[in-house]
Amino acid sequence: MRYLLLGILAASAGATAAMAVQQAPQVVEISVERFSFTPSEFRVKAGAPVEIRLRSDDTDHGFRIVGTDINVAIPKRGKGVATVTFVPPQAGKYVFECSKLCGAGHGFMRGSLIAE
């Protein structure tokens, strides 16, 4: 009986750990400055959450994924990190861009999230 109980506990712990591993989002850290995102292209799994962490090295910027409702403010240098979680519903290319006018070269601030 004791062995049966231990076996059930071990199986439960294993299942819980597996679920945690399954649900842990992929994390992508992006450095932001006038006028680029680094990296400006990255790959994620379609249908799985990706946690995007954005840190500015200068002024405040914005992060908008075109065609979705994702649009967050990125605080100025030293003022923190913007974190956004996105679940690409399907495979494909999702364009992102700076959504806060940040200078003469603001228009160059674009990138791609590729969901596979």
């Binding site: 680029s36 680094t38 500015s56 002024t59 065609g67 979705t68 100025k76 003469a104 228009g107």
Partner: protein, 384 residues
């Protein structure tokens, strides 16, 4: 060259026409939920307020730049960007006072990551400063000398072209633009006065410019750019003044450290003919060189970073700039225009978008008789 322009225009038109086709092709694949199209207009800007004290002269206070940027998004694929600048606070007709300049006013047609089309008033994509010149982004009250007399920032004109990104962090732009007017070239300021500034420009033989840069590593930008055009269109009888500029630059910033370097070289063909023609026209030979060259290296370090009252950085920059680097046959260089500068200073950022700057600029030339004045400068610049 005219064929090249026509070809570029046709390619641009084809690309614009292609957008809906591509969009349709993409639409046939699974796509994310589409939000309502945004129609947004944004206004931002920057200001630059200076105190300059040149050796042997009284100090000067100057509201150097008042710049407004206005952008508008027509759709996710079409947007408008503009930059309007008042220099030296005052604009007077026929006076050597300030300037009101439309430095940018273009429409982007966003087609794909690799290829997009841009047309209107454009910044020439040459050098570190010309496209990235908000005061908090660079050390020093005034822009580097190399970015003033070798690369004539802010260098803008009308044109059209393509831009995009490929691979892991490679970006490019390639534009066809109005050429420089060689009749305005000078010995001291090189190409600077030759910019047509989009005002009823001569486009008989358009110039071509481009830039390739790598931004794939955090904090690093490595780039090379060029500009080439024919600039003798104002002379009768007409003769060619081919002008070419080649440039390379690097910028690296990580945490508290920032390093920069830039090299630029200008070649002016038929400079002898140009000097003869201008000498006949105005009675004074301008002694325009056939070659200009400049380079600089700069190191900056934030000695205070992340404090509640802001950041403090110190910097040193060495520059060499010579607008008489190579002379046409029969001409001697004005050696006072072969100059070195050592600029030392500090910047205090109470906010990342506000920069209070101090620097001391020591200049030496190859001429032992004519001494270049050193200067002490204070600047307050901000972005909003």
């Amino acid at each position: 060259m005219t064929k090249a322009v026509v070809s570029l225009a046709l390619i641009s038109l084809w690309l614009v026409v292609l957008v809906p086709a591509n969009a349709d092709a993409q639409a046939s694949q699974p796509t994310p939920p589409v939000a309502a199209p945004e129609r947004t207009t944004a206004v931002s800007g920057y200001m630059d307020f200076h105190f300059n004290k040149r050796e042997f002269e009284d100090g000067r206070l100057d509201f150097h730049r008042f710049v407004l940027l206005i952008t508008h998004r027509f759709s996710d694929r079409i947007r408008f960007v503009s930059e309007l600048e008042v220099e030296h606070a005052l604009v007077e007709g026929l006076e050597e006072a300030g300037e009101l300049e439309l430095e940018q006013a273009y429409v982007d047609f966003l087609l794909s990551r690799r290829v997009n089309v841009r047309a209107g008033m454009l910044l020439v994509p040459v050098g570190i400063i010309n496209e990235r010149h908000e005061p908090p982004t660079y050390y020093g009250v005034e822009r580097p000398f190399v970015d003033t007399v070798i690369v004539p920032t802010t260098w803008f004109d009308v044109g059209a072209g393509v831009f995009g990104e490929f691979g892991k962090g490679w970006r490019y732009r390639a534009y066809v633009m109005s050429p420089l007017n060689a009749r305005e070239f000078t010995a001291e300021d090189g190409l600077r006065e030759g910019i047509q500034k989009g005002s009823d420009t001569n486009i008989g033989r358009p110039a071509v410019t481009g830039r390739l840069e790598y931004v794939g590593v955090r904090g690093l930008t490595v780039a090379a750019s060029f500009w080439t055009g024919r600039s003798g269109f104002e002379f009768r009888p007409r003769f060619d003044v081919p002008v070419s500029l080649g440039e390379a630059d690097i910028r690296y910033s990580r945490d508290r450290l920032e390093l920069r370097g830039q090299f630029a070289r200008v070649a002016i063909s038929n400079a002898g003919l140009l000097n003869d023609a201008m000498g006949r026209a105005v009675g004074v030979d301008p002694n325009v060189a056939s070659g200009l060259r400049g380079f600089y290296g700069e190191a900056g370090y934030r000695v205070i970073s992340g404090a509640s009252y802001g950041d403090v950085g110190v910097f040193a920059r060495y520059e060499n700039f010579d607008t008489q680097f190579k002379m046409p046959s029969g001409y001697l260089p004005l050696t006072q225009l072969d100059r070195d500068a050592l600029v030392l200073g500090a910047t205090y950022w109470p906010d990342p978008d506000i920069a209070l700057k101090f620097d001391y600029s020591g200049i030496r030339s190859r001429n032992s008789t004519i001494r270049e004045p050193n200067s002490f400068n204070i600047g307050l610049g901000w972005w909003f």
